[in-house]
């Protein structure tokens, strides 16, 4: 992207409190256009609060700009260019599939009805069906069909595949990557199944106890972090290189390093880039 172009999401000193409970504690981050960012954190880390703030579903303190707008003050206008799937199965049960398409087409200036219909034509779902009659996986596909037919610049997905079986989850992400993502779009996604989205992401934001603990692109992770599986006899020597985390694995110890001297580490074993899931565990333990 060209320099000087404002980020899609810009948070400065973003805070959110529920009574005395601090969900977000003066958080700073930016999401650039064209990225697929994973917002990853344990339960109660502040993920949902961050997403709710970004989508204008909750008031917050601090500064937050999404597509140049203040989300809470301007949610309706923001939703012309941004959209979201928060959790599975939030489509109203009484709605018929064709009514859903008709309604969104009626109220959304950037909705392309033909695209939604073409997507649904590839499934078993017919327009006369009511949402309540559909399986969880089918509901998710209907929601995805509606969402992908919106020509949005920002798509936010909050646990979009929670409770779905493996086939439905795969179908969801395949459709997302193949039919939707392009350079003009930005996706922010939270999920517990980190492994599943890992090869989709361009960036990760780790969040814990209301703070951002890692904000990095995946390329940067490859140059910044290393993991080595070290045999017991070499562990003491390897520890001298200041690993920030270690865990046992099959009689060896896996040691995690930040900005390591890769040349030295190679003496202890094979140096690999940790997976996002492993890095997440290492960073938050």
């Amino acid at each position: 992207m060209s320099p000087g172009m404002p980020p899609i999401i810009q948070a400065r000193d973003l805070s959110k409190k529920y009574g005395s409970n601090i969900a977000l504690d003066h958080v700073n981050f930016a999401v650039e256009a064209g990225r697929i960012v994973g917002l990853i954190g344990p339960n109660g880390a502040g993920k949902t609060s961050a997403l709710r703030a970004i989508l204008g579903l909750t008031a917050y303190e601090g500064e937050l700009q999404v597509l140049g707008r203040e989300p809470f003050a301007d949610r309706a206008a923001l939703m012309n260019e941004a959209t979201f799937i928060a959790d599975v199965a939030v489509l109203p049960p009484w709605l018929r599939v064709d009514q859903a398409i008709e309604f969104v087409a009626g109220v959304h200036p950037r909705f392309r009805r033909d695209r939604a219909q073409a997507f649904l034509a590839k499934t078993q779902i017919t327009g006369q069906r009511r949402i309540r009659e559909l399986s969880k996986g089918m509901k998710t596909l209907v929601h995805l069909a509606l969402t992908m037919a919106i020509d949005a610049r920002l798509l936010v997905l909050d646990e979009p595949t929670l409770g779905l079986d493996i086939l439905a989850r795969r179908a969801f992400y395949d459709a997302l990557v193949n039919d939707y993502m392009d350079a003009t779009r930005t996706i922010l996604i939270t999920t517990h199944q980190v492994e599943e989205v890992e090869n989709l992401l361009t960036d990760v934001l780790f969040i814990d106890k209301g703070r951002i603990v890692l904000d990095s692109s995946l390329e940067d992770i490859a140059t910044r972090y290393a993991a080595v599986a070290v045999a017991e006899d070499k562990v003491a020597a390897a520890r001298a290189e200041h690993p920030f985390f270690e865990r046992p694995m099959l009689g060896k110890k896996v040691l995690y390093f930040e900005r390591p001297d890769v040349g030295k580490l190679a003496n202890f074993g094979e140096v690999v880039t940790p997976s996002v899931a492993d890095l997440f565990v290492a960073k938050l333990s």
Binding site: L55, L91, V104, G106, V107, P109, H143
Partner: protein
Amino acid sequence: MNTYVWLVRREFWENRAIWICPALIGAALTCAALFGRVDVAALSSPEQNRSMAGMAFFAFGAIFYGVMSIYSTWYLLDCLYADRKDRSVLFWKSLPISDTATVLSKVFVGLIAIPIVYFIAADLSTLLMAFIIALRSRSSFGGALWQPDLWLQLQALWLYMIISTAVWYLPLAGWLMLVSAWAKRAVMLWCILPPLAAVLAERLFLGSHAIASLLRNRILGYGQAAYDLSDRGLWVTTTFGHDDAITAPSSVWRLLKPIGFFSAPATWIGVLVGAALIYGAIQLRLRRTEL
């Protein structure tokens, strides 16, 4: 504007009872006209016929209006709660529709659209009934139901009723929506308990009953506020046979008091309170996405 049309249409999709209910009442009344006893004995004079027809029309309308009031109350109490309960509020909020538009569309449906549907259903079924009775009846009562001026007066009455109840009951509607946007469960209980507690607390600690009379005047005072019931010359009593009698207004035009109603401070204080409560419901809707 277009968005509002879609929002209202949406409410009709979700709440199919809006039209199914009056359709069923209409069907039941039509059945009664088809298979019931339609000859009224002891009607002889045109005045008696007219008076009887007027009362019949009014009674049919009142059935619709009574059911409508209950349904509309339930609708307003449920409308901002139901989609938080099934979490579909997260879908509606992903669309470019402001919470103000959402709440106002529901106020409109509860206070105007639902009464209009019932009003149309009442009209259609009374027309149908009058037609059936006119065909079936062997007494002079049959023809008596065809009274164009009576018909016109009734239309004016319904229209006036829709507008004036919407205005008069705006604060109640606002309260129902506020509870609907706020409550985590048991909307019915939350709608009744706080006013009840206020009434009891006032009685207990101050020994007065200002809140109780305020609520009573609002809930039961609509007739006094919108209609001229005191003009004794207005009422005409028609006797039947030995001791049956119907007392009815001689003219709907004299019954309505639009100028009095729309110039009364109580009317506009109510509108202000209603607007404030609806504003509160919008503010809650902005912030509360889940139970």
